[in-house]
Amino acid sequence: MFTATELSIAFPNQICLELSDRILDSAWTSAINHSNDAARWNAYLNHLCLSTLLSEFQEEFGLVVAPSTDRANLLSIWEFVNGTAISLGEKRAVIIPADNADTEELIVPQEWVDISTWAASYYIAVQVNPDDGWLRVWGYATHEQLKHKGSYNSLSRTYSLDREDVITDLSILQVSLELSTDERVAIAPLSVLSETVATNILDRIGQPTPYSPRLDLPFVQWGALLENQSWRHRLYSQRIGQASTQVITNLSQWLQSSFDQGWQSIESLFTTELEFRFRSIATDTAIQRGKQIDFGMLLAGNPIALIVTILPEIEAKIGVILQIYPIGIQDHLPAGLQLLVLDETGNVFRESLPSRSIDSQLRLQFTGSLGARFAAKVVLGNTSVIENFTIDPS
């Protein structure tokens, strides 16, 4: 196995960074708002690149480096396509992560090449290896290279450039950033979609599938749909909404120490040493788990978590405590958050007051019988996130 330091010695003209368990965990927990495993994995790899490479590029190239869009847009892109657009000074680049062991080719989804507002001068190849704990920026290609030298794969709708043609020395990127003109070439226009056509398509492909719908309609249509921010967001939330109602967390399984994906121990949830703020209500029999609640850009920089504590009681009942806590560096909740508990029919049967900026938690407590189903709803402005629960010992 190689460490990031050894890689830096092996590849002095590339960028090799360590991915600590902490970085991996935090990227993994922030990649929860996707409709399927493949999209989640894709968001995870992209998030790893974004969270580690921006400052590195900034230092390496001496330029202002920033993501080209906000978090909500990023999530709605990662749901469908691999890649993250950034600005390197005046120029545009797309980070293309891959978790392959070999670097025989750089594979770029067609979306980043043939949608004119998405296309970039540079495509930066990143090999991500979470198991060995490193990532490596192993080269880059230009738009011109992809279009003229790359091969187009119509089945996967990707452009691929052979390893031999990828530029593997990043000092060349630095010189090119300074000296070259825009390295983009002309591309064919996409379809013009009417609102009606778009709505029809959204209805058709809005159902969750275990893969991205990107291959399910002609590219000229798909590209036009994806490029339009509001259609993309609609498609994204349709797929997410339908997918998330299907996930029901069974609290009875917690009694057997079996926890579904996303539910973390309290220690691993609080990424800062501010964990002590969480005054544990734990007794010997209580079981506690938490999950980050993702409001996208609304709560950028101030992440919150839903913490569920269950206490087995007599006569086949379970005591349930739901709490909302800030888990970032802020020790107060954002103002206007509200926590609701819905019963099986969707009616509100418990609700907290909206949080004030001085509040450090929201809390609701009730007793549930076996077989009960309920949902926790966290509301912020017009947006809400729902977690479904059941207490089902069968």
Partner: protein
């Protein structure tokens, strides 16, 4: 390992490695078809040197990739480079096995069309220098993520290109090949790790996941096959068996060390193209390359003395960065590595701008990349130049007995028995006086560096070791060239 002598041997032999317990021995073994072919060639053109023959066979191999003999000559020729890269890489990164590295390098060397794909854009590089550059980056690229994987983990770790190459090498043809690739693509589209870590040891997909993959396959196959009537209906078990083939093909192609074989029945029928040596000689005198070298030498001279010394310690003497930082009293090692990067970029930027003004080169990434490769090829020999000149001159200070020993051992490359026999002294005496010579060379090299570069080497053991390696490398790999 003994260096090969003469053109016939260099273009027709491969290293055969025999394992003993705890050690292994190697010798050069001739591939008969290649041997006959190059012998015929040398009889017709006795005066042409190794470099020209290498250019000739490469040109043939690139022009007609199916010609097994031209390809064979090139891979035989690169055998020493493979061995050298494998051993130095494994010495530098002790977690690697030199045999694995050697195997990877050899497979790459056997495919000149890929290895030398952009060779023509880098004017001035010799076949062996360019080959070495490419081979060493291939070895590192493939070895850094090697290590144990579950079958499913292995499948997910491939690029499509690697998979296709493996399937082709395995002998798969269409439509089976396309079916395998499509099954794999659907698998990769749907089946991913569900934890932050653990992709290496990923478990196999379960039946319902295989069914999703099969469904996806059925959707996508309409785009791939024009005649669907002959295509089987895809099921979970169908996907499973296609993926099994992919795994087998990938496992098979990373096998044991084997000697290349030229039992191809078409090989005998291959017409021999008369070498166009005049054209190749003209190419070697490439004007542009001469101009670039002159420009770079001048640009190097224009750096401050300290900057020149940094590059010479790094590319010339090949010290590690910790030692260089220590010698130059640079507090943090990362400052040094930034400084080295900065100097590279500075030289490259100037070269790119000069090329635009003087050679009409465009200033886009690809063109800059070609210039960067030329600069890389130029830089390391340039930084070694004054040290080599010093060592060469120092030989004059040896006694005539010592000079004889050096000549027999390093220039004629005789083994210890033969050297002792020729010089009429015992083997022990040969060894001890050669040790004495090496030690003397090292000591005076240190003295020379300290006085002419005005640095203090501090006697660090890693620095001393690097200098000892440098001297040894010069004796075994450079000295003979100047006497032939």
């Amino acid at each position: 390992m003994r260096r090969r002598q003469g053109i016939v041997e260099k273009f027709s032999t491969f290293l055969a490695i025999q394992d003993g317990t705890g050690y292994s021995t190697s010798r050069w073994e001739t591939e008969p078809k290649l041997g006959r072919n190059i012998k015929n060639g040398v009889e017709v053109h006795p005066a042409k040197d190794t470099g020209l023959w290498a250019q000739h066979w490469l040109q043939q191999a690139l022009a007609e990739p199916l010609k097994p003999l031209a390809k064979g000559h090139i891979s035989a020729y690169l055998e020493e480079a493979c061995y050298y890269i494998a051993t130095t890489t494994a010495r530098k990164f002790t977690q690697l096995e030199w045999r694995d590295c050697f195997q990877v390098a050899r497979i790459a060397a056997a495919n000149p069309a890929k290895l030398f794909k952009n060779y023509d854009t880098v004017k001035g590089a010799s076949v062996s220098t360019y080959g070495q550059f490419q081979l060493s980056s291939i070895v590192l690229d493939t070895q850094i993520s090697s290590g144990a994987r579950s079958e499913t983990g292995l499948l997910r770790s491939l690029t499509e290109k690697k998979l296709k190459d493996d399937l082709l090498t395995y002998g798969l043809l269409d439509p089976k090949l396309s079916r395998c690739v499509l099954a794999w693509q659907c698998f990769k589209e749907i089946y991913t790790p569900t934890k932050a870590k653990g992709g290496r040891h990923l478990e196999a997909p379960n039946t319902s996941q295989l069914e999703s993959i099969a469904q996806r396959y059925s959707q996508l196959q309409t785009r791939l096959f024009s005649d669907l009537s002959s295509e089987p209906t895809m099921s979970a078990s169908g996907i499973q068996s296609l993926l099994k083939i992919c795994i087998e093909a990938t496992r098979r192609t990373s096998g044991n060390l084997t000697m290349p074989s030229f039992d191809d029945p078409n090989a005998a029928a291959e017409p021999s193209t008369p070498p166009a040596f005049e054209a190749l000689e003209a190419e070697a005198q490439n004007q542009e390359w001469q101009q670039i070298k002159e420009y770079l030498s001048a640009a190097f001279m224009a750096l401050t003395p300290e900057e020149q010394i940094i590059l010479k310690l790094w590319h010339g003497l090949e010290l590690n960065q910790a030692d260089i930082a220590n010698i130059l009293k640079i507090e943090q090692q990362y400052q040094l590595s930034r400084q080295i990067k900065r100097l590279h970029i500075y030289l490259l930027k100037n070269l790119a701008q000069w090329s635009t003004a003087n050679l009409g080169t465009e200033l886009q990434s690809e063109e800059i990349s070609q210039k960067a490769k030329q600069m890389d090829i130029w830089l390391s020999p340039h930084c070694k130049e004054d040290i080599h000149i010093f060592l060469q001159e120092h030989l004059n200070r040896l006694t005539s007995v010592e000079v004889d020993l050096v000549r027999l051992t390093y220039i004629q490359e005789l083994d210890l028995d033969q050297v002792a026999d020729r010089s009429r002294i015992s083997k022990v005496e040969v060894t001890s006086s050669l040790d004495q010579v090496t030690w003397q060379l090292q000591a005076s090299l240190i003295q020379y560096l300290e006085s002419s570069w005005q640095i203090t080497l501090n006697g660090l053991s890693s620095t001393n070791k690097a200098i000892a390696n440098f001297v040894k490398d010069w004796l075994t790999n450079s000295l003979y060239k100047n006497f032939r």
